[in-house]
Structures are given as structure tokens and as C-alpha cells.
């Protein structure tokens, strides 16, 4: 008994040592994410923080894998996994981190002296970013409510950024305009330059004691940053000292290549006084009015085209854009480039529904290569595809539709080819995903979602309280719920989940399931799939599932002709059900040799029965004929007796 409770307890621990208490929240520790108290059972119940992972937003799997040892001034992940939620509300997924050393710096924003800013904020965080950079990782969650300080005079600690997609909870101000204009889920891992940018805004916030551009809505923030440049827009009404201004100017540079690497920020001496000589872009004296936006340069033109796609197509077709580029902006090269794009679009003999959005996307990329992929009014970075799908499935159907179009129309590849975007992660291998979309049937997008978000659970409503993220979990779920299951366990949604999370062989079987033409072939394919899934992922006994399978095998057993054999099979099936191995049940029901013998035996029996029926009918039919035959035979015998007697008498006389 004690062993059982110990086992049950160890099953609820994450990584075998962290116990999560979801009844106790830890305020601020998650930097915007729900955080709960956790205890380390192997360190005298030391306090830890468990960050809750949302079912709709994938945690950063690569970071959780790579960050396996402590890093100074960073809340590194210590473990991650499933834990029960208090009150019997099912289970959740948590990322365990060390507790923050103190409150977040956002709790009481004050003006930090420049020296403290450099020593206690810039250097520690630059050190953290340098380590991350060396491991080809980004943080993407540098903001005041995710930076903690134990006490005044102590270096700050950077919070966790592992339990949600990159930059998902970043305020617009802390992101470069090209990231800020994307939906939170569409920002992608980005590059170290994005972290340097966010760090620059953090330094500005702490240097002035208030959030820059406070009170402005997100489109205005982005427009100002594009129009004025980030540094000018952010420091518009904030006083910044000269040396700090130089530092911030480089950290907030428009070109990510001009922003310093973290190593350069640890020791500022070599870079102090360094000034960038970025060439200012062309600017027109005469604005192009596109909707309500007055466009003065190519950068804001790209933004304006993105904001109003209808007007964008109209202005591109009637040549207003190229005319303005050539005459007002004086950029004939760019104008020719756009003209070529428009001409190519107009030359299409059979324009599809993707033609106009593709033209707008390519035009925006040509006008400003730093812009993200802009498709039908949605801006996104392709490396964010997993979280885009997750967000799309959870709540934003327009994101889902955009992702589907992007994959089907092969937009991602053509956009990637448009311009080199240094620093960004490689776009995902879209060829495979496109093949999957085009050949994967109705569940292809779901399959892609599950494949790209390996830690997110199955989204079936009946699994809402459980975190089913692997085929092993799914098999356990089947075992628990098979009693109340209907005629089928695997529907389109679960099939997509299995195809994405299982191995290649199982994936092919799921394909066969989808192509089943009738209910009978679907039933057979489903049972075979369950058998192989149990063999591969859950070799232990599954009596609940076996009982369900046995009920589904009833039609197979009913087809047996030989009754004693059928009854013996039923008894054997019942015994095997308790053993809980689906494969053995199927073997029993699908023995081809015995089945063939049964069919042959049935045919023989049918033939023999027909012969018996024919003979019985002949007996009934030939009764009168038999009497006539008996009469003739009797008369012949009587004649024979008479003849014999006559011959005997004659012989007795002759031989006397």
C-alpha cells in the first residue's frame, strides 16, 4: 500500500522531483504567464516556480532541450512535464524554473542611474544573451515585468521565456516595428538583434522611469517607428543622456545588422563613441495619400500597402505607386522592379485567388526587404508557423486560412527567395509541409499543427481535462475511456494527431485509414492500427481497450459457420480480453487457414444437406411407385413359387 502511494506520488512529479501546487500562485514570476509554486523533492522541498503552458500556445521545445545547465542571471528551465491541477481539474503542462530573486522591475518603475543601468542591467542581461547566442538561441521576452531584482544594487535576473511562443507576450513597444506588426503568435524566434532591441527599450524605460510611447495604440507605435525610426520615436518625449543615447541608438538601429552583439555590450569600452553612419532612405517632398496614410518613403509605403490590401491592389494596377516612386521619390530602379511585378501579374492568363495577394506581398518585400511576410492583411514570420497554426486552431480562423494558403500556394518559398533577411532563422522546410497539405486530405492542416507543435495536447473536446501529447498518452486515454466509446475510437482529428506524433509505419497506416472506402474496411484498418499502436507504444495489458475491440470483432466471429468452433472462439476471445492484448484478439479472429477450412466445411455441409433434402423428397414422392414395384415383385415371386412347384411335381413323376 505504501509502495502504491509512493508510486502514485512519483507519477505526479515532474522529472521525478518537482511537485507542483496549482492552488498557490506566485505573483509576477511568470512575466505575464500563470505561475505556481513548485517544490523540489530532492532539495529539501526548495521553492521553485512552475510556469503553466497554455493548450493553445506551444512552449519552446528547443530551448527546453538545449538549456540543461544553470546560467547566471537567467531563470533557466529545470524541468518540464505534466502535473495534476488542484481540485481534480485534470492535468496541465508546466515548465519548472528557479524562483525569481525578487520583484519585477516593473513593480515600481524608477529612474535608474546610468552606471547602475549599465552594471546591473545591461551587463548581466548581455551576458545571458551572449550565452544564448553561443547556443544559437534567442530569449524574446525581455520586458520590465520579466526582469527581476533581489535588492537595490544587485544585478537583475532575466525571467523565463520558455513556456510560450517567442515574443508572444511582448508589448508592441519592446519589439522592432517589423515584429510588432505581426500577431503575437506570428513573431517567430527572430534573431539576437531582436533581443538587443528589446534590451535597448528596457534600458530606455529604466533610464527614464516610464514606459516609452505610453498611451499610444499599437498601429500608431509602429507607424511612428517606421516614420521616424525606432530611436527617434521612442525617445521623442524622453530625456536621454548623451552616452546612453549613443548606446541606445545602436541598440535600436533600424537595420538589425547594425545592432551590437551581446558580447560587445558586456564590455562597452571598445564600442563607446562608436556611431553608425547608416544612410538615410530616400524621402519624397510630395506624399502619396493611400487611404488615410500620407506616404513619404518606401518604408511607409510598404506599411501602407500592407494595411489596406484593397487600395494597394488598386494603386498598383493603375500605376500610381510606380509613378510616385519614379517621379516623387526618384527611385527609378525600385519603380521598374514594381512595374515588372505588376506586369507579370497582369500577364497571367488564368489569375487565381492568390494572384493579387502574391503581388502585394512581393511588392511589399521589394519596397522594404525587412518587412515580414504580408499576406491578406496578416503579417508573419515563417519561422513562427507552428505557433501560427496553434493560434489559428485555437481562436483565429483567419490565421489558419492564411497558413493553409501560404502552404498550398507555396508562398513561403517564393517569399524567402525574394530577399535575404540576415539574422532570421532559416524558414521551415516548407516542401515537406506543402506535400503534406496537398496530399494529406482534410486532416492535413491538423496533422501539420500536431507535427510542428510536439508538446501541445490533442484538442479533442473529450480530452479537455487531460494533456494527451503523445501516442502513449493517447493509448492510456483509450484504455480509460474505451468503456464509454462509440463505434469508432479514431476520428479524423485523432487520426491527424496519431499521424503527426507516431512513427512512419503508424503514419502510413493512418493514411490507409483515411482512404477506407466503406465502414467495414475502416473498421478493419482501425483495429489493425490500434493493434500496432499497442505493440509499439503501450505493450502493457489494456483490458479496457481489448474489451472494446472484442465487441468490434463480434461481426467477424458471427461470420464463422461452424457453431461449436464459433463458441470455442468466443470463449477464447473472452479469456484473451482479460489478458488485454489487442494483437492476440485480432490473430484469433483473423486466422486465415482456419477461416478457409471453415468456409470449405460450410460448403461441403451445404452440399450434403441438399443431397439429404433431395433424398427425403424422393422418398415422399415415390411411395406409390414403391407399392407398384412391391406388387409386381410379389406377383413374380408367387409365379416363381408356382413354377418351381410345377417343375418339382413333374420331375417327381418323371423320375419315379
Amino acid at each position: 500500500m505504501a509502495d502504491d502511494s509512493l508510486l502514485a506520488l512519483s507519477n505526479t512529479l515532474i522529472a521525478g522531483r518537482y511537485a507542483v501546487d496549482t492552488s498557490q500562485t506566485v505573483a509576477e514570476a511568470g512575466g505575464g504567464l500563470p505561475a505556481y509554486l513548485a517544490r523540489d523533492r530532492m532539495a529539501a522541498d526548495a521553492r521553485r516556480v512552475a510556469l503553466a503552458v497554455s493548450r493553445d500556445a506551444s512552449p519552446r521545445a528547443r530551448h527546453l532541450k538545449v538549456l540543461d545547465e544553470p546560467i547566471d542571471n537567467l531563470m533557466v528551465p529545470l524541468g518540464h512535464g505534466l502535473a495534476p491541477i488542484a481540485g481534480g481539474k485534470g492535468e496541465g503542462y508546466f515548465v519548472i524554473c528557479p524562483p525569481p530573486p525578487g520583484p519585477a522591475v516593473s513593480r515600481a518603475l524608477t529612474v535608474w542611474p546610468e552606471r547602475a543601468l549599465l552594471e546591473l542591467v545591461l551587463r548581466p542581461i548581455a551576458g545571458v544573451l551572449d550565452v544564448l547566442h553561443s547556443r544559437k538561441l534567442t530569449h524574446r521576452a525581455i520586458r520590465p515585468n520579466n526582469v527581476f531584482q533581489s535588492a537595490p544594487g544587485q544585478p537583475v535576473t532575466l525571467g523565463a521565456a520558455w513556456a510560450a511562443p517567442p515574443a508572444m507576450h511582448q508589448p508592441c513597444v519592446f519589439e522592432s516595428p517589423y515584429s510588432a506588426m505581426c500577431y503575437p503568435a506570428c513573431r517567430g524566434d527572430g534573431s539576437m538583434a531582436d533581443d538587443i532591441y528589446a534590451l535597448g527599450v528596457l534600458l530606455l524605460t529604466l533610464a527614464t522611469g516610464r514606459l516609452p510611447m505610453a498611451g499610444l495604440d499599437d498601429p500608431t507605435v509602429i507607424r511612428w517607428k517606421l516614420d521616424l525610426g525606432s530611436f527617434a520615436a521612442l525617445t521623442r518625449d524622453l530625456p536621454v543622456s548623451g552616452s546612453l543615447a549613443d548606446l541606445l541608438r545602436t541598440m535600436l538601429a533600424e537595420d538589425p545588422d547594425h545592432r551590437p552583439l551581446p558580447a560587445a555590450l558586456i564590455d562597452l569600452a571598445p564600442t563607446r563613441g562608436r556611431r553608425l553612419a547608416a544612410r538615410p532612405g530616400r524621402r519624397s517632398q510630395h506624399p502619396l495619400m493611400l487611404s488615410d496614410t500620407a506616404v513619404f518613403d518606401a518604408r511607409t509605403l510598404a506599411w501602407a500597402l500592407f494595411c489596406d490590401e484593397k487600395k494597394a491592389i488598386q494603386f498598383l494596377r493603375n500605376g500610381m505607386v510606380t509613378q510616385w516612386l519614379r517621379r516623387a521619390l526618384g527611385d527609378a530602379t525600385l519603380a521598374t522592379q514594381i512595374e515588372d511585378l505588376v506586369r507579370g501579374r497582369m500577364a497571367e492568363t488564368k489569375p487565381g485567388s492568390w494572384s493579387d495577394p502574391t503581388l502585394v506581398m512581393n511588392t511589399i518585400s521589394a519596397l522594404n526587404p525587412r518587412m515580414p511576410l504580408c499576406w491578406r492583411g496578416t503579417a508573419l514570420w515563417p519561422d513562427a508557423l507552428p505557433s501560427i497554426l496553434a493560434e489559428g486552431i485555437a481562436s483565429r480562423s483567419e490565421l489558419m486560412a492564411a497558413a493553409e494558403e501560404l502552404l498550398l500556394a507555396d508562398v513561403l518559398n517564393s517569399w524567402s527567395a525574394e530577399a535575404d533577411r540576415p539574422g532570421r532563422p532559416e524558414p521551415p522546410d516548407t516542401l515537406l509541409q506543402r506535400q503534406l497539405m496537398q496530399g494529406g486530405g482534410p486532416g492535413a492542416l491538423l496533422r501539420l499543427f500536431y507535427g510542428l507543435n510536439p508538446m501541445l495536447p490533442c484538442r479533442m473536446p473529450m480530452m479537455a481535462s487531460a494533456w494527451i501529447a503523445s501516442v502513449q498518452d493517447l493509448m492510456r486515454f483509450f484504455e480509460d475511456t474505451a468503456d464509454s466509446a462509440g463505434d469508432s475510437l479514431i476520428d479524423l482529428h485523432i487520426a491527424a494527431f496519431i499521424a503527426a506524433r507516431a512513427d512512419r509505419k503508424i503514419e502510413m497506416q493512418v493514411g490507409g485509414l483515411a482512404s477506407a472506402k466503406d465502414a467495414e474496411s475502416f473498421r478493419r484498418a482501425e483495429l489493425a492500427l490500434l493493434r500496432d499502436m499497442q505493440t509499439r507504444y503501450h505493450p502493457a495489458a489494456m483490458p479496457g481497450l481489448a474489451k472494446w475491440v472484442a465487441a468490434r470483432l463480434q461481426p467477424d466471429l458471427d461470420r464463422w459457420h461452424n457453431k461449436p468452433r464459433r463458441e470455442a472462439l468466443l470463449a477464447r476471445l473472452d479469456a484473451l480480453t482479460h489478458a488485454g492484448t489487442v494483437g492476440r484478439l485480432l490473430e484469433l479472429a483473423e486466422d486465415p487457414v482456419a477461416r478457409a477450412a471453415d468456409v470449405i466445411g460450410a460448403q461441403r455441409a451445404t452440399t450434403e444437406m441438399a443431397m439429404i433434402d433431395a433424398e427425403l423428397a424422393a422418398i415422399d414422392r415415390n411411395d406409390s411407385r414403391r407399392f407398384a414395384a412391391a406388387e409386381g415383385f410379389g406377383q413374380a415371386i408367387a409365379g416363381g413359387i408356382g413354377l418351381s412347384a410345377f417343375i418339382l411335381m413333374a420331375m417327381s413323376v418323371l423320375l419315379r
Binding site: 461452424n562 451445404t606 444437406m609 407399392f627 409386381g632 409365379g639 413323376v653
Partner: protein
């Protein structure tokens, strides 16, 4: 079957012909024996006229039975009596007539009873065969479930 009845009719005609020839020869050779012999064979001769069975099977049996019963009295009369009166007195006396006619009656009874007995025996055989077949049929139906859906 058709040939068989044809053969029967032929045989019947042959019997009648042979009897007629024998009767003619007897009348020519020994008319004093022919008359009492006619009386002895009277049931058989009447049966030959009245019998409607194929091949005159009943009459044939009666004549053969009577013939067998007449052999000894006719041979005795051949050697021991002379003249119609003598032969009538010798052959047509009641014990002889009764014995020959009883032979005719026995023949008739045999012809009537023997088919019925054979039919009873055959019925018994058929009933046994039928019960064997029914038992086998029931066993097949039970084992293979053929009553419900013979060709599933």
C-alpha cells in the same frame, strides 16, 4: 419399364398360346382326360379370362399352382382310367377337385399377400433410412447453422 410390360404381355400371350396348344393336344390325344382336367383347372381358366394385371400375373400363378397340383392325378388317370365316365369318376372326385382348387386359392392368396408384405418390409427400410437422414440433417444444421442462413 415400357419394354418390361411389353415383355410381360408377350409372355402372357405365350402362356395362353402354350396352354391352348397343350389343351388342344390333350383333347386330341386323350379327350377322356381333357374334360375332367378342364373341371380341375376351371379356376385358373376363369382367372385367365378375368385377370387384368400386367402379364396376367395372378392367373399365371393360379395356373402354375393348379398345374403342380394336377400332375400326380393326371398321370395316375393316364394309366388307371378309361373312358370319359371312368376318368370323370377318377379325376373329378371331390378330394382331387378340392386339393387342386385349394392350390388355386393358395396361389391367389399368395399373389395378394406377398406384395403387401414386401411393401411393409420396404416401408420399414425406408423409415429407417429416413430417420438416419433426418438425424444427419439435424446434426449438420446444428453444427453449421445452416437453418438460419445456409449460404452465409
Amino acid at each position: 419399364m415400357k419394354g418390361g410390360s411389353k415383355f410381360g404381355r408377350l409372355m402372357s400371350a405365350m402362356v395362353v398360346l402354350l396352354l391352348a396348344l397343350a389343351g388342344g393336344a390333350l383333347i386330341a390325344l386323350s379327350p377322356d382326360i381333357a374334360l375332367p382336367l378342364t373341371i380341375l383347372l376351371l379356376p385358373g381358366l376363369l382367372a385367365l379370362i378375368m385377370d387384368r394385371t400386367p402379364g396376367c400375373a395372378v392367373a399365371r400363378a393360379i395356373v402354375l399352382f393348379q398345374g403342380a397340383a394336377c400332375v400326380h392325378p393326371v398321370i395316375d388317370a393316364w394309366y388307371r382310367c378309361a373312358g370319359i365316365d371312368g376318368c370323370m369318376g377318377y379325376l373329378a372326385e371331390w378330394p382331387t377337385v378340392l386339393r387342386v382348387w385349394l392350390a388355386a386359392a393358395a396361389a391367389w392368396i399368395t399373389v395378394q399377400v406377398l406384395p403387401v408384405a414386401l411393401k411393409v418390409l420396404d416401408d420399414y427400410r425406408i423409415r429407417h433410412r429416413r430417420s438416419v437422414l433426418m438425424a444427419r440433417r439435424a446434426a449438420l444444421a446444428e453444427e453449421w447453422g445452416l437453418e438460419d442462413d445456409p449460404l452465409r
